[in-house]
């Protein structure tokens, strides 16, 4: 497998994105500070990527941030959707990550038991 194969993927995805003319609908931000990493944020990131791949979600962006000052709630994940307040989730294990994708990102229902903050 060569990195060059990524070029073909880019060409295909670029066509697909130009047809849709849209930016990402949802942004998932994963806290990767010291306490987040120690609490399993790397596995949480992997779970989100895996779910996006398996469900073929083409309008979701995954990004990382540093410490959020919520160490006791790590791994912390923020889900931002344009026009809506950002939802901050705490203790996001890979299993919770799967639920967030299925319930919040796909079906639009916030997973309330893991919400620790709502950003204005």
């Amino acid at each position: 497998m060569k990195l060059e194969e990524l070029r073909k993927i880019r060409e295909r995805v670029q066509q697909e994105l130009s047809l849709r003319e849209g930016k990402a609908r949802i942004k998932i931000i994963i806290g990767m500070g010291t306490s987040g990493i120690a609490a399993g944020a790397r596995e949480t990131l992997r779970a989100f990527l895996s779910e996006i791949e398996n469900r073929n979600l083409t309008d979701v962006l995954v990004t990382q941030t540093g410490e959020k000052g919520l160490a006791s709630q790590e791994p912390v994940v923020i889900v931002e959707e344009s026009g809506k307040p950002g939802i901050v989730y705490g203790m996001v294990t890979p299993e919770v990550a799967k639920r967030i994708v299925a319930e919040h990102i796909v079906n639009g229902v916030v997973v309330s038991e893991y919400v620790i903050q709502v950003e204005e």
Binding site: A24, T34, R42, L45, L61, Q64, G66
Partner: protein, 186 residues
């Protein structure tokens, strides 16, 4: 942290917080010398001498709103507890270089850890800084430069499912190659 690679991820996040645009991560296993070396070098804002003296103190941090800065002290503690060492070189305005050495055979040396998951996390950190990752073992090396990936992808997001699939398989294959060459060392 129970894996050395988690320390690496943590130090990389420090570099990103320090405004680095390029971070080099090198893991070198010197089998004959019984050494494992981890080097993280960045072109971030660096530290002056005074800050450098304090950086190994777990109760020191330059970040506001945070009481402790644990990345370097935690790695240093792990290095020292195995008879290894950690050195930090830094220059204000130029960047920082952290090099940790560990005796590979020490009974208390934590495992290197999840190489695939860590490389993937580094690739997805590259939205904030470019990362050059190198893992060298007995003259063989696994190299991944996020600048190459980004140059190919252009404006296509890393989070597109097709890109995720490719990167996951690509990293998996590279790690497998390394494991195939030296199965007895893993």
């Amino acid at each position: 942290m129970d894996e050395l690679l988690l320390h690496v991820l943590d130090i990389v996040q420090n570099s990103i917080s320090a405004g680095a645009s390029l971070i080099s991560v090198e893991i070198r296993e010197r089998i004959k010398e019984d050494l494992l070396e981890i080097t993280v070098e960045d072109n971030g804002r660096g530290m002056d001498e005074e800050t450098l003296k304090m950086v190994e103190d777990p109760f020191f941090t330059t970040k506001s709103g945070k009481k402790v800065g644990l990345g370097i002290p935690l790695l240093k503690q792990t290095a020292l507890s195995t008879g290894g060492d950690l050195k930090v070189k830094s220059q204000a305005g130029k960047g920082t270089r952290i090099k940790a050495q560990f005796p590979r055979s020490h009974i208390d040396l934590p495992p290197l850890g999840d190489l695939r998951g860590t490389i993937l996390a580094l690739v997805y950190a590259s939205e904030r800084a470019d990362i050059l990752f190198r893992y060298l073992k007995n003259g063989r090396e696994l190299v991944l430069d996020t600048r190459e990936i980004k140059a190919i992808l252009n404006d296509v997001p890393l989070s597109h499912p097709s890109v995720i699939k490719f990167l996951r398989e690509f990293i998996n294959e590279k790690v497998k190659e390394l494991e195939r060459i030296f199965p007895e060392q893993d």
